[in-house]
Amino acid sequence: MGKWLAGLADLDVRWLYAALLASIVLTAYIRVHVTIELSPESEGFYTALEQQDGTKPVLLHSDWDQGTIGELSAQFRAIVRHLFEKDLRFVVISGIPQGAEFYEPVIQELADEYGKEYGRDWIAVGYKLADPKDIAIEALSRDFPELVQTDARGKRPTEFPWLRDVRVADDWGLVISVAYTEYRGYITYFYEAAGTPYVCGVTAIISTTLYPFITAGNIKGMLVGSRGGGEYEQKMGQYGFGSRMLLGESAGHLLLLIGVILANVGEAARRRRRGREESAE
């Protein structure tokens, strides 16, 4: 038994990869309903959106792509659903070249579901926020029509009646970013300068650094990775990719925990065995 346990520490890591892949594949076929409530940071996000009365449009910064689709697509879908349900008009802008390839199909699908129309309920301006982001966001806060010039279909934003008076940071009701990380430029140039609230959807890896901003109140709410996506999705009465991800994540985490425990048991057994061998010598 001791020899077997000691051997665990030397287990070929590829067996763990295989077990992880198998557990993830398995969760794709298991139909277990995972219910989850809004966490305080997600609640802040939801409330910030609920507080909008529709007199000012919402700025939706979408920077998710293939690398973050697992964590952010469900968040983005739930946010757009919330915007459409509350009849809030919004402008989608991106800071990555491939942004439109990902946000457009989601918005179009939900627009068809809610009977929304491009130009009347939302517009997309595409990739208009190049790096460095802070400088681009500062320009966006000063003169929106000047920065974007035209939307994705070649029309100037001022041609849309609901965007005719939108120019500076104060003219927006809310700023939302869905990206790998948050964009702190929005805190400086939109929230601190004009009082326009800012909420963000981010990957879990980034979220740890952002809790002080939530406590301080300069970020009003935050959706954290796939958990945030699942929470918001269920709040919107849906059970989709975000909720199913929770099951996959749980299976993966459980396996990792078992791996950590087994590795430690193996290491302890190996040390005990080595100690016994040394004392026997």
């Binding site: 491939q98 208009k128 601190e192 002080p212």
Partner: protein, 225 residues
């Protein structure tokens, strides 16, 4: 596999699935298939970014207005377009010893702008965090002590002070209070790093899950139709 299962409609799915398997093959061991997929991904990303940057950014904001100015013989626009080109080209001065100073000019402007913004950002972004950390260990709500909020604030303050003690390097930590406080601070730091690591695992796992589900579900679904 029949020909119908490999139609042009599904070509994109086939490429995506094969590329995913090629990248995941690294888990077995380093191999040429993985290398091909890696180079393909980088090449496509750079090519795509260049094309989009041109068509969505440079062309409408620089090239088209510049060409229009040249056609109208509008000297202000011509000069603005030429200046932007000259400043942009300065970056490439980096590649030649004699023109390296040109790159430093534009780099200086960018660093200056960023430094100016960083100063402002420190006040607008960090100061509210600092002020919000001044919490009272005793919270009074409706005339009586709110025990849970008070306990929460006390723990927060203890963590804050002990972590600050850990980073006290101005003198040797011989005083027992400082030494014990510093050790407790290290414990809190480990809790913080643990949260970082847990969230890192969560993000990496999410990427893997999405890809594995794509291959095992979305892609395989095509074979059952």
């Amino acid at each position: 596999m029949t020909f119908a299962q490999f139609t042009f409609d599904r070509f994109g799915e086939w490429v995506a699935a094969l590329a995913t398997l090629a990248v995941l093959s690294l888990l077995w061991k380093e191999n040429p298939v993985y290398r091909v997929a890696e180079h393909l991904l980088l090449g496509l990303a750079v090519g795509f970014a260049f094309a989009v940057s041109w068509f969505q950014f440079l062309q409408p904001k620089w090239w088209d207005p510049w060409m229009a100015s040249i056609a109208d013989r509008e000297w202000g626009g011509i000069l603005a377009g030429a200046s932007a080109l000259a400043l942009g080209l300065c970056w490439y001065g980096l590649y030649f010893k004699r023109t390296e100073w040109l790159m430093r000019l534009v780099l200086g402007v960018v660093i200056g702008a960023s430094a100016g913004q960083a100063i402002r950002n420190n006040f607008t972004q960090q100061m509210p965090i600092v002020t919000s950390s001044f919490k009272s260990p005793i919270v009074i709500e409706s005339g009586s002590i709110a025990w849970s909020a008070s306990l929460n604030n006390t723990i927060f303050l203890l963590a804050l002070i002990t972590v600050l003690l850990y980073f006290f390097f101005s003198f040797e930590q011989t005083n027992p209070v400082i030494r014990v406080g510093s050790r407790i601070g290290r414990f809190w730091l480990m809790v913080g790093f643990g949260a970082f690591f847990g969230n890192t695992v969560m993000t990496r796992l999410a990427v893997l899950i999405e890809r594995v589900w794509f291959v095992s579900q979305d892609f395989m679904k095509g074979f059952s139709q």
